[in-house]
Amino acid sequence: MAELYQTQRAMRNIRRAALQRGVIGILDIGTSKIACLVLRFDGTGTFRETDGVGPMAGQANFKVIGAASTRSRGMRRGEIDVMAETERAIRTVVAAAQKVAGVRVDQVIACLSGGRPTSYGLAGEITLEAGRVHDHDVARVLAACDAPDYGRGREVLHAQPVNFAVDNRSGLGDPRDHVGNKLACDMHVLTVDGDVIGNLIQCIRRCDLELAGIASASYASARAALVEDEQELGSACVDFGGGGTGVSIFVKKHMIFADTVKIGGHLITQDIAQGLRVPLPVAERLKTLSGGVEATGRDDRDMLDLGDAATGWEVDRRSVSRADLIGIMRPRVEEILEGVREVLDAAGFDSMPSQQIVLTGGGSQIPGLDGLAARILGPNVRCGRPLRIDGLAHQFTDPGFSSAVGLALFAAHPQDEWWDFEMPAESYPSRSLRRAYRWFKNNW
């Protein structure tokens, strides 16, 4: 796990440098759209009473000074498919956001929705020699977690200590200075395909940007869409995206599970295009403007023109009722929700103390989705919009931008994957003077 230490430390250093400069970029590369926010950190955490935005979740020390979004290109199922196209899309959105902000962005934090995320729960245990938990004991117990075989080419994206236990006292958030003989920790590790991360890094580097951090999209959107109590008591966040649907489960303010269902909004569009024999842009328009999942009597009389007004009346004069559209969309949405149900079952969501489910992402704006989800997933369902952050324009506050907003919160308060403890002495090369120094420091 030493290289995990090193990559996380390198990214943390870049992030610190960016925060020192005061400007950092947020890049949410999704399958259907790419959003870029430019954040300015004033550092002092100035809280402006007059703005009406309270210090919610402690994000008051930054301000969005530039935001832009564009249609995504070259992405498929949350992964980069055509790198040059994606690079162009990133250039477009970064140039637009920079233009709004008036400053240059050098460091960005990006999120990744694809790459077959897999969750692992690890456990580690050490005996405390000093009878008290010190900093280096935390580092040691984190290093003592036995890592399973992730598989070839898998890379760790998140590794968060979820729980600490000293002797038989479990559920500690911060075990430092606790007295005991044994320290145990549970860690949640999320791995993704290394090639996917490599492609993303390469793509961002080709835009002359520096990657200051990387997060899973389902984690980021959950941080923006779940309120603090839900994160504490346990809840699942379902992020309906274009290329896939991300599921993440939070308890005790830590993500304990994340997975994706590989069916997204694009598949619904595709169904509409195939079922009604219309081009994809028309299908997309029909889906976003008139889509739904619950058909009523009125929807039978509600006729929709299939011809695009822009292409002219001579192209297509057909029209369908809204009930037909809903009839096409509903099975696919149900399929997505069934997939989510399977994921939640696999994660043991039933045994959680609170079973709140929050729907977010662009797909969660389908009318009637919460009713359908309540029938399939469970009674406690709500549609979540991202947290309000300072300076974000109104058009960026819809549920589709929750992962961008979550990344902004992540940049301001990185829920540190591994706490920034020094590496355990065992990992140092032997004959190191620093090792001797550390040994002296720890023993006297």
């Binding site: 162009r88 250039r91 477009t92 970064v94 140039a95 920079q98 008036g102 240059r104 835009c207 002359d208």
Partner: protein, 314 residues
């Protein structure tokens, strides 16, 4: 539509290409990011105009002829402005100066009138004029109407000072006014002599005032040791005054003279250097009269006793 349509194969008619890609090209993206750097912005907004102006100026000035033409043109314009009617000085008016000084002033003016006021450096002219000893102060100005006005205040001659290099006229502060060749030129002025006499002219003038009754007999004042005055009268008489309180001592001597006609007697020197104890030195005749009355041998003109032929004195 073009007038002539090319129907040859592989010659498609040109159509307007609409740029569909909203993405900035890599070069454009990099340039935009470069432009967002403040240092670049400043360099382009300030540096480029400065360099451009400097380059154009230096290229234009690199030719010898152009430089000459430029300097000629500037000189011409300056000349034109300076020789305007409004700046012409036509006459010079000197007030409060004697004819000699008036002539000297006019001779000192570096340019011939009429001239432009830009050519007359009043400060330099004033410094030059102030080097004349006779002038105490001068007020030089150019008045409207093209008049160079000089208001001169001359030093007033107070005493003549005879020293080893000649005779000079001094004013009441002791500053030199002019030199004269002989005492007769200014017979009305009192004469002082001796080293350092010019430093005590004011005291000398007070003494001259105090010596009112004997003024016709006064030959002059002699400064002794740069410390005190001797009042020299005719007939070889001399009043030696103290360094301090000379005027009071002289007034006392004048009172003695008035009451007892002291100076009318055969007295060579009245020594008032110690004011409380005036000492008189008698002349040879007086002393011989006393000696005759006492039956002592007479004194010769050199003040020595005549031994061989004692009857010779008198």
């Amino acid at each position: 539509m073009p007038d002539v349509i090319d129907h040859r194969p592989n010659r498609q008619p040109p159509f307007d290409r609409v740029k569909r890609d909203p993405a900035p090209s890599r070069l454009q993206y990099r340039l935009e990011r470069m432009w967002l750097r403040p240092i670049w912005r400043r360099a382009v907004r300030v540096g480029v105009p400065v360099v451009l102006v400097a380059a154009i100026g230096s290229i234009w000035l690199s030719d010898e002829d152009r430089r000459a033409r430029l300097s000629d043109g500037v000189a011409q314009i300056m000349d034109k402005v300076q020789s305007r009617e409004e700046f012409q000085v036509r006459t010079m008016v000197v007030e409060g100066a004697s004819p000699v000084v008036d002539d000297a002033l006019r001779a000192m003016l570096p340019v011939e009138l009429p001239a432009s006021s830009f050519d007359i450096d009043l400060t330099a002219l004033r410094l030059q004029v102030m080097q004349l000893d006779v002038i105490e102060s001068i007020d030089l100005r150019i008045k409207p109407g093209g008049i160079l006005s000089a208001v001169v205040k001359e030093r007033e001659p107070a005493v003549l000072w005879r020293h080893s290099r000649g005779i000079e006229i001094l004013d009441k502060t002791g500053h030199r006014v002019a030199s004269v060749t002989s005492r007769d030129v200014r017979a009305d002025l009192p004469l002082i002599a001796g080293e350092g006499a010019d430093l005590a002219v004011s005291e000398a003038l007070l003494l001259v005032d105090a010596a009112g009754p004997i003024l016709p007999r006064l030959r002059g004042l002699v400064r002794k040791g740069e410390r005190r005055w001797d009042l020299v009268l005719d007939h070889g008489q001399k009043i030696m005054l103290p360094a301090e309180g000379a005027v009071i001592a002289l007034q006392a001597a004048m009172a003695l003279d008035r009451s007892q006609d002291m100076l009318g007697r055969d007295i060579i020197t009245i020594d008032l250097r110690n004011p409380s104890q005036p000492v008189l030195r008698l002349g040879i005749d007086a002393r011989n009269t006393i000696r005759t009355a006492r039956g002592q041998p007479l004194l010769g003109p050199d003040g020595k006793v005549i031994v061989e032929d004692g009857k010779k004195g008198g």
